[in-house]
């Protein structure tokens, strides 16, 4: 298409050199045919329709999630008066904060070790929890906490579990950042007589800081959102927001779930956008 335009423009002698050059590089713009647009947009619609419905019905003045009656804040008011829900939200935030801090430290170390020292066992164990079905991590941790550590399931077991599955995400992001950097930077620091700690403090860390922040935000989001592993490691001791949502939708579909879902969605969306600002390649590195 562009090619034809360029030719036509060329005939009219109004063509610019840049247009011809560009058209030479991208002659096959018809690759983006109308069918591709339609199918792609349909996929976007499929992804966003459910979320839109949840948000819309959270403001709907009706007990049933069926037809639009009128606007209301009722479900949000209900939510903020729901003691169990507030406790669950508090737990979720506390767990996510502790777990993401620990996972950021351990994950950054793992990322550096994977890139610089190529510790094979570490790479394997960092990626195993990311690659395996979550339920397997959940039940094996359940067995381990109860049978070996003799731990009462609760906040501690959930925090440990969340650190376990978050380390891999932080490590992968940090490693990717390190891999994209020139090794000679660190060699130069060493040549100038910097100790390993000084090299890390003044060269490595400032360079990987965006990746560390992005990894930490990712770990926080993953922790706030995790259902499966939390489900197995929380016991009856502790409720988190996803566990509470699960039990609510298991019993009945109520608009209060719409409201809590909307708030949770806003939180994770904000965190994801923030993470993507710090390290744009996070989005693609995430598995």
């Amino acid at each position: 298409m562009l090619k034809q335009i360029a030719i036509r423009l060329g005939r009219q002698k109004t063509t610019t050199k840049s247009l011809v050059m560009r058209s030479a590089g991208h002659r096959l713009t018809e690759r983006r045919g109308p069918w591709a647009w339609a199918a792609g947009l349909a996929a976007y619609a499929f992804l966003y329709l459910p979320l839109t419905i949840v948000v819309a019905y959270s403001f709907n003045d009706s007990r049933l999630n069926a037809e639009w009656v009128g606007f209301t804040w009722h479900w949000y008011r209900l939510l903020f008066g729901d003691q169990d829900m507030l406790v669950a939200a508090g737990n979720s935030l506390f767990i996510a904060l502790i777990a993401s801090l620990a996972a950021t430290v351990l994950g950054t170390m793992a990322g550096i070790a994977m890139q610089r020292y190529k510790v094979r066992v570490l790479t394997f164990m960092v990626l195993a929890p990311v690659a395996m079905p979550e339920i397997l991590i959940g039940v094996s941790l359940l067995l381990f906490f109860i049978q070996v550590l003799n731990l009462t399931l609760g906040v501690l077991s959930v925090v440990l579990a969340h650190i376990t599955f978050s380390i891999g995400f932080v490590a992968v992001i940090v490693q990717a950042r390190l891999a994209a950097m020139d090794e000679s930077l660190f060699e130069a620091a060493r040549d100038l007589g910097a100790s390993p700690w000084q090299t890390f403090r003044h060269v490595t860390f400032p360079l990987i800081r965006p990746a560390v922040i992005a990894g930490g935000l990712m770990a926080f989001t993953l922790s706030i959102d995790d259902f499966v592993i939390t489900f197995f490691t929380a016991g009856v001791g502790v409720q988190t927001l996803p566990l509470r949502i699960y039990s609510m939708i298991k019993i009945a579909v109520t608009p209060e779930v719409n409201a809590v879902s909307t708030l949770l969605m806003m939180l994770t969306l904000t965190l994801t956008v923030l993470a993507s600002r710090f390290a744009p390649d996070v989005l693609r590195g995430k598995t």
């Binding site: 002659r27 096959l28 018809e30 690759r31 591709a36 647009w37 199918a39 792609g40 996929a43 976007y44 499929f46 992804l47 459910p50 979320l51 419905i53 949840v54 019905y57 049933l64 999630n65 069926a66 351990l106 170390m109 070790a113 610089r116 510790v119 164990m125 960092v126 079905p133 979550e134 339920i135 397997l136 991590i137 039940v139 359940l142 067995l143 049978q147 070996v148 440990l160 376990t164 060493r190 390993p196 259902f227 499966v228 197995f232 996803p242 949502i245 939708i249 298991k250 579909v253 719409n258 879902s261 949770l264 969605m265 994770t268 969306l269 994801t272 744009p280 989005l283 693609r284 995430k286």
Partner: protein, 303 residues
């Protein structure tokens, strides 16, 4: 290739273990050890009140409490194998549908102007970072008997004299939600692959007389095999372990392996059998990964 760099400075070995030690130790304790414990638990008898007898016992006699009974039990009744096979089919169907939906989406993003791409990728990632339970819940609304979709569908069916259908609590609902939750997993690796493809190859194909379909089928598609394999693994494997989607959206017969495992651990509390199912699922996953790696190797000539 020879290493041109200077020999490591003294203290490097110490630094290496100072850096890799803590995460390694943590993961040995919370990934490797629980894995081994699950394997051991699968060879044990269930405890009197559910669970199992303590694994770490001072008495070496407890080693005699090991058994293959749970494995025999699994293969003695076909219903368990059947759940495994059904889960594999469900995962395969999900993967294929995701592939068909993700391909045009990934192409649309990859062929968009560079400045729009990051935003378009972000728009794919956002629904996937929001909790998957919210997605399940939304599909409960959309497919529920009072929803506009159900009413409309049953209105049309009724006009032609067919009996009304229930969309919710069916394998259809399970499949829709599985695809919904995993679509981004397929889209992202595909996009990464398609973005890297050299557009000049398509020009060359065109110069050689290939039409649009031939260019897609004989250039773009074969070149995208690594992306397809990566995306398929990212969809297929997690679907195998799902339990929340079938539980909340499926009927009683739509159980997957995940539900079976969950019931053994939190329902009937037969932990040895639950562990056996976990081990068998692990073996299945490893087999599939191995198979995919083999296939990818064969397709590797395109990479």
């Amino acid at each position: 290739m020879t290493d041109m760099r200077a020999p490591p400075a003294p203290g490097t070995r110490l630094t290496k273990w100072l850096v890799s030690g803590p995460p390694l130790l943590f993961l040995l304790l919370l990934v490797a050890a629980p894995g081994v414990i699950t394997m051991l638990a699968s060879f044990r008898y269930p405890g009197e009140f559910g669970g199992l007898a303590p694994l770490v016992a001072a008495d070496p006699q407890t080693l005699q409490g090991m058994t293959l009974e749970t494995y025999q039990f699994f293969f003695s009744d076909f219903i368990y194998t059947e759940v495994f096979i059904k889960s594999l089919f469900m995962a395969l169907a999900t993967t294929l549908i995701c592939l068909v939906m993700a391909y045009p989406l990934a192409m649309l993003i990859a062929h968009s102007p560079k400045k729009n791409r990051n935003l378009m990728v972000l728009l794919v990632v956002l629904p996937f970072t929001s909790n998957f339970l919210i997605g399940i819940y939304a599909w409960m609304i959309i497919l529920g008997p009072q929803s506009a979709l159900s009413q409309m569908l049953n209105g049309v069916l009724g006009a032609f004299g067919f009996a009304p259908v229930h969309l919710l609590f069916s394998p259809f609902a399970v499949l829709v939600a599985l695809v919904y939750v995993h679509l981004p997993f397929m889209t992202l690796p595909l996009y990464t692959n398609l973005e890297k493809q050299e557009p000049a190859l398509l020009d060359a194909a065109q110069d050689l007389g290939a039409n649009a379909w031939q260019r897609f089928w004989r250039v773009t598609f074969p070149l995208s095999q690594p992306g397809i394999f990566a995306g398929s693994a990212l969809v297929f494997i997690p679907v195998l372990g799902m339990f929340a989607i079938p539980e909340l959206l499926g009927g009683t017969g739509d159980m997957l392996v995940g539900n079976l495992i969950k019931d053994q651990f939190l329902g009937t509390r037969d932990w040895p059998f639950g562990s056996t199912l976990s081990i068998l699922l692990t073996v299945t996953v490893l087999l599939i990964v191995w198979l995919a790696a083999k296939l990818a190797e064969r397709g590797g000539r395109y990479a």
